[in-house]
Symmetry: C2
Subunit: 127 residues, 2 copies
C-alpha cells in the first residue's frame, strides 16, 4: 500500500476524472475535479466534479437524478488523473440522453452519431 | 454526419484524450492534445500528444517503440475531449511497464497496485 498524493497543482488545481461504467467498461464521460470535489466524492460515494463553466461544485446527476455511484477509483502514474468506475443511475451519463458523452465517432473529418440514446432530455430537464 | 469542430480554446489550447484498448476496453492512459498533435494523429494514425512537461509534440512510443495505433476516435458532447480506441504495441501504455497508467486503486485513503506489469522499464528505456 502506498501513500495517496494527488497532484492538483499541475493543472492549476484541476485534474481530469475519467468515468467508466464499472460493468461494461464503456467510457461515459470525462470531467474535472479539484480538491474539494474529490473530498466530496470520497465522503459521499457519488461522483462530484468541478464545473469549469459554472465555477462551482457539481454533483453529477443533481438535476437529472442520474447520479454516479462510485465503485472503484484508480490513480494514474503521474498522480494527476483519476479513473472512476461507477454505476450510472438512469443508464445515461450524457445530458443529451446518450449513454456516453462520447456518442460521436470521427470519420473522414466528420462526426457520426453511434451511441445509444437512453432518455429524452426534454423529459428529464424540462422542455 | 456532422461537422467536426474541436474546441481547443476552453482548455487553453489543450484537450484531454483518453486512450482505451480497442479490444478489452481497458483505459490505458489520459494525455493532452493541442491542434498540432491532433493533426499529426490524424495524419499518421498513431497517437501523438502534447507533452505539458516538455512543452513539445510527443509521439507516444517514440522512445520505447510502444506506439498506439489508432483504430477509432470519438468526440464528446462538449467538443472538448477525445476518446481514442487503440491497439497498444508492446502491450503496455505506461512507462512503468504496467499495461495501464491507472495501475493503482485507491482504497481507504491509500493506494494499492493492482495492474499487470508487462515489461521491465530498465530493459526498455535503459537502466
Amino acid at each position: 500500500m502506498g501513500e495517496l498524493k494527488i497532484d492538483f497543482d499541475r493543472g492549476q488545481g484541476l485534474i481530469p476524472a475519467i468515468v467508466q461504467d464499472w460493468k461494461t467498461g464503456e467510457v461515459l464521460m470525462v470531467a474535472y475535479m479539484n480538491a474539494a470535489s474529490w473530498a466530496k466524492t470520497r465522503e459521499t460515494g457519488k461522483a462530484c466534479f468541478w464545473s469549469r463553466s459554472r465555477q462551482k461544485l457539481w454533483l453529477k446527476g443533481e438535476t437529472s437524478g442520474h447520479l454516479q455511484i462510485v465503485k472503484e477509483v484508480y490513480l494514474d502514474c503521474d498522480n494527476d488523473a483519476l479513473l472512476l468506475k461507477v454505476e450510472q443511475i438512469g443508464g445515461a451519463a450524457c445530458h443529451t440522453g446518450y449513454r456516453s458523452c462520447f456518442y460521436r465517432r470521427i470519420v473522414n473529418g466528420r462526426t457520426e452519431e453511434v451511441g445509444t440514446r437512453v432518455f429524452d432530455p426534454k423529459e428529464v430537464y424540462g422542455g
